[in-house]
Amino acid sequence: MNPVALNLSGIDPELDDIELNLFVSAMRQRHGYDFAQYAPASLKRRVYQLVEQHHTGNISTLTARLLHDPTFLPQVLEGLSVPVSDMFRDPPVFRALREQVLPALAAHPRLTIWQAGCARGQEIYSLAILLEEAGLYDRCQIYATDFNDAALRQAREGIYPAREAQGWSRNYQAAGGTCSLADYYSARYDFIKLDHRLRRNVVFADHNLVTDAVFCEAQLVLCRNVLIYFSNALQNHVLAMFRDSLVPGGFLCLGLRESLALAPAARDFVAVDSALRLFRRAGPEPSPVDHAGH
């Protein structure tokens, strides 16, 4: 049977909560990673999965290993992040990027794009393909960031299981792709490898949305299905960070089911397509010419 990592004591969720808090303290105090503002249900589920995967029996033993075994941290970080996505996941979103966002961005002589939480890079390569096909790629600087170094390494390699290719090709077509996705990868054995030219303007970098600050002025920020794991306060904090990173009129693209109803910083955005969770930073848009001149 598939390990589901449901709960541990089953009858004593309060004990689990105490142990979870100690684990979170250990991560913060010993390793500088702050999960205190993560939404508890999913965080707890992932910690339970780590307990099962490493056969520690309970969270406290997991915490002890985290404190005393210096090689253990990367495995824990890998387990606590969500490197799950697909190329052109939610095709209508990528169609809107292609048909609405990129034409609006084409007025800028230089473009900076930030994908926060790029995980294994599926969406950054999807975006790179859109930019190539729109003839905008060469004026772009693209930042793809994540706190999971193992996922970043995989993103940089751009190698994925061949079994994904068919579904991703369908997504690409549904997103308005006019070529064939196969034009952008080579297949070997059970793997496909994305054309390395797609990442010539991409910087993959370690960045933690919880503890790190804004580092670029962007015309487009993508952050899909990351904020769903954050508490309301942290969601708002990160949303404000995206606002500060975006130029007025700059675009923000979130996950399809994300709700900003409880985030005060949402007031600084206007919806371009609320069903697709596509927004623009409010405020007068600087003329691209002025902008380039400074």
Binding site: M1, N2, V4, L6, N7, G10, I11, P13, D16, A39, P40, A41, S42, K44, R45, R46, V82, V84, S85, N225, I228, Y229, N232, G255, R257, E258, S259, A261, L262
Partner: protein, 188 residues
Amino acid sequence: MPAIEAIVIGCSTGGPGALALLLGALDQRLQTSVIVCSHTASNSHLLCDVLAQHSTLPVIEACEREPIRGGMIQVAPPDYHLLVERGRRFALSVDEPVGFSRPSIDVLFASAAEVYGNGLIAVILTGANADGAAGLACVRRAGGLAIVQQPDDAAAAAMPRAALELAGADHCVALDEMGPLINRLCMT
């Protein structure tokens, strides 16, 4: 007996038909929160519309961060796990599918069990896989009540059968007895 605060319902193959029958039999005065996880909803707005035609209670898609509401059917959106937070609010996740399923019934049931404890009823309906069995075991361990559709009565017997084998049930009934049973358990 403790007051029932929430009902979680899991189904897969044959689910929409079974849900239509069950939700149509619920008492419209029910104040309990009803949370549905169906694998069959590739478009949950469509499923919500279909269920709304049959249900005595309003049907909406469950939204992240929103309070879980009483007297309302709340349906898990497709391609996300649906979880219950301690503050009686919904959370979504795109963690890996569990047993090829997202939303996973196990994930919903386990998180609901932690929050509602013995104030929870969990229902397993028709389905062609074993999702929900482990979650149902969590619900029972936490003191919640398990209702499983009789496998012979289900369009697909595998899911109720797996649930009975792994978790057992407090009530194993045919679909047409289930609505009245839930009404009795929640309203007395």
